[in-house]
């Protein structure tokens, strides 16, 4: 699994939609991007290795995993849109810290939308990725997808 945890972990239960506050931030989650983990990611997405660098989408996957530990996204959630900015190449073997915050939440027509801000920093505290994921969930859990 790409998202084996090393270091700080938020042990609190993920927050439900009703508990989320706009602007709130969650404890950072640290990931070590080991060669074996990245190799598995590259195999899964059918991507060729590139100069010992981590595929940018692998970093985003870590950030989304961090979000799922803080935010309760029910099985019926849909990933509706995604914005990503790749700011710095990361070498395989690096460690990154992922930060998650709530940008927006809207409840309308039986659907709940959350815009989640995601950032990943390397060990020198430089930003390597910034992203915003929009996730839509049915108010009644059970139908749809993430």
């Amino acid at each position: 699994m790409l998202v084996e945890m090393r270091g700080k972990v938020d042990s609190r239960a993920p927050k439900k939609y009703e508990e989320l506050e706009i602007g709130s931030e969650f404890p950072s989650v640290r990931y070590e991007l080991t060669p074996s983990l990245i190799s598995r990611f590259e195999e899964a997405v059918e991507a060729s290795s590139y100069g010992g660098l981590v595929p940018p989408l692998a970093i985003l996957a870590c950030a989304l995993k961090a979000a799922s530990q803080s935010i309760d996204m029910p099985p019926g959630s849909v990933h509706a849109s995604q914005e990503i900015e790749f700011l710095k190449a990361v070498s395989v073997g690096s460690t990154i810290d992922c930060h998650v915050r709530i940008i927006k939440k809207i409840s309308r027509s039986g659907l709940r939308m959350v815009v989640i801000g995601l950032e990943a920093l390397d060990r020198s505290r430089e930003l390597v990725l910034s992203a915003a994921a929009t996730v839509v969930s049915p108010a009644e859990v059970g139908v749809s997808a993430k």
Binding site: L2, A44, G51, I84, E85
Partner: protein, 145 residues
Amino acid sequence: MITSESEVPELHPGDALPGVIRHLNQEKINLYAEAVGDFNPIHVDEKFAARTAFGGTVAHGMLILAYVSEMMTQVFKERWFSGGKLSVRFKAPAHSADTVMVSGRVDSVKRENDNLNFTCRVDCHNQKREAVVTGEARVTVKLGE
């Protein structure tokens, strides 16, 4: 197309990017779920997924975006890793038996000071030509690198 790290992509508005085609199946979706630790049943539980509006399992949106990223990496190489931007909407799910065709086209190439800014339209369609993902990718290339 760039042939080495030092070259700037010779792309012009209207140019097509080299497409990427991926044939999905449940095994590939399961592999991705294991790689990233996302076991949402809509992706991996066929019985659960059959009861949803989608009627069956669908691929992770991030798996489809990884295919888009692969296309951009082929063209812009390391520059995509440290100067790429992607803004997309998921228009429809990619089902477990779908073929995903990723395509891109250069919208504009603009020089700003020492940077060359590429803007590309990116799309993913399934085998029925239905849009799965639509959006825009931008890459900044620093001249003289």
